[in-house]
Subunit: 180 residues, 4 copies
DNA sequence: CATGAATGAGGCTTCATTCAT
DNA sequence: AATGAATGAAGCCTCATTCAT
């Protein structure tokens, strides 16, 4: 799975062949099919794990600062994601930056939804605190993440290392985009 | 080309087969190869056209409001892109929202660069006007676009129709993200 | 036809495309089909011309030295072929050195036969003069040509220029192979 | 491999399709590519095997009659090749009679060279014994083989069966062509 | 008579998946 | 449970030939 994750995020879904996964992982090609029914199921499994990781991160950050300012919660989440981009590069790539449209199954889309909902809950709290602008929370959660994504891309590409000025600027920018 | 553009943005590069393009376009498969040397060259040609369209849009908007406020220029650009997302859906999808990493050739990357540079020029003007925050223009140009992209996705998906509240909110958010 | 001849002998039958012939000849691809019903008929036409050239050469050399020694006739033929290999390279290549097995039609095989028969007539004369060894004339004609072919290959490849020692040696060797 | 060898020597390289090889061999087309990277590599592999067979034959014949007369060595080689033409028809066809110019890779050309060198060594010995005529050994080795080839063609075509008068005549002719 | 764009059959190759060992 | 050779559908591309202009 680790090998597959690495390859999917490096070469993309289509250019990652089962033969390559097996060779790099030091197993036989057929062995893959004793654990997953298909290549598609394999990415989905990896994708869901990535989503769960991100969701947990959001929930934990929110819970740790329960009743605190929404901005502080989002900042904590942002740092957590950036940290992940630096040390669990492939996970962040597959879960947040890759485009897997045609390959994801229903369960994966549901897991994705869970992550979005968790993030929206935090934004909703911000709205309750009158810190977030008027407008649907779905929009602001998505906008905040889209803005932050540029920093994630940079970190994932190795252009930026975590305690980078650019990262701080963008976390701040993401907040400005959605705050009153 | 129109058929190919439609399919590439609907199914993605890999799931769009030459046989399918030909069938939908009502031509023979071999005919594709009298106009393009390969499937890859075909996407690249389409991609470059999309980039040129976007670049021109940025340049025109900037030129029309020469010496005007950077914010007004960016707003004009945003509306132009949104308009494009509504009426030339596939062009915007292929040029700004698709992920074509492994398929683009050098010339395409150069054309992409032209677009980024054009956008950065506008942001640089904003900095000169003390309207844009401290930090590299490359970052703010990219952040502005990343933020706006969420609106483009919505419009492209048909969820939002151009004079939509969401669109106005996000254009505003993109500006807030990068302005002082 | 000249262009086609050149290409067939340079690239071989299969690697010579009708598109290439047309381009190099400065005509349209379709024009080929106003003169020949197919690519195959085109090679056959060229092949037959080459055979006729070679047959005429044999007949002329024999006639000029009518009633002379067979060896002198064969030597004259050899020099004629070598001369052809030097100045009409492509003709000799297509007619005597190329392997066109699957492409030749019945008429071409007949024309080929004519050439062989002409050569055998000379060898038969040699036998009548008790200058050629015992054994079927078909064999000795073919053996003589096979031996000479090595010189033709060398000349055709540009390794040897006509008044070359190697050429003389081989013409001599070919005669020795079949003479008493 | 046996099926491919048979087809290549019967239909030629271009008219032998991978689909045909697979069908005749009773395997799937894709299976070919688990053993060879391409159709071209497949012929090259077969070609090299044929060359090695011929080279070994030359070396063995020479070694068995070490210090013996060169003529005897060449006669032994000739009989070996004729024998091969009779019983391993396809091997001789592919290795010595086919024209594979555009398809052979560097290694194959090197293997071909090995065979020629082995044959030249025998001819050189003949020269040292003053049995072979003046002139480069490369020439006489090639001439001897070219002359013999006519017999190989006949045997390969099934026109002659090994202990045939024609064969003996030609082996003799080949020697006469190059001997003093 | 020449043109050259269009055709479509067919070639080579890849690759996710299966199954006997 | 793991293996890895075999599978065969399907993909991209070539090219001799046709035909409307």
């Amino acid at each position: 799975m680790r090998t597959a994750l690495e390859l999917f995020t490096t070469l993309g879904y289509h250019d990652t062949t089962t033969a390559l996964i097996a060779r790099k992982a030091g197993i036989a090609e057929g062995t893959i099919y004793r654990h997953f029914t298909s290549k598609q199921q394999l990415v989905n499994e990896l994708y869901r794990a990535a989503q769960r990781w991100a969701t947990k991160l959001v929930q934990d950050a929110a819970h740790d600062r329960d009743a605190g300012a929404a901005r502080a919660q989002l900042t904590a989440i942002a740092h957590g994601l950036i940290e992940g981009a630096a040390h669990e590069t492939a996970v962040v790539k597959l879960g947040l930056l890759e485009r897997l449209d045609g390959v994801l199954d229903d369960e994966s889309r549901r897991t994705r939804r869970d992550f979005q909902v968790a993030l929206e809950r935090v934004v909703a709290e911000g709205k309750a605190q009158n810190a977030v602008r008027a407008g649907a929370v779905e929009i602001w959660a998505a906008v905040w993440l889209a803005t932050l994504s540029h920093a994630l891309e940079k970190v994932v590409a190795g252009d930026w290392k975590p305690p980078d000025t650019g990262v701080r600027l963008i976390i701040d920018a993401a907040w400005r985009a959605i705050s009153v």
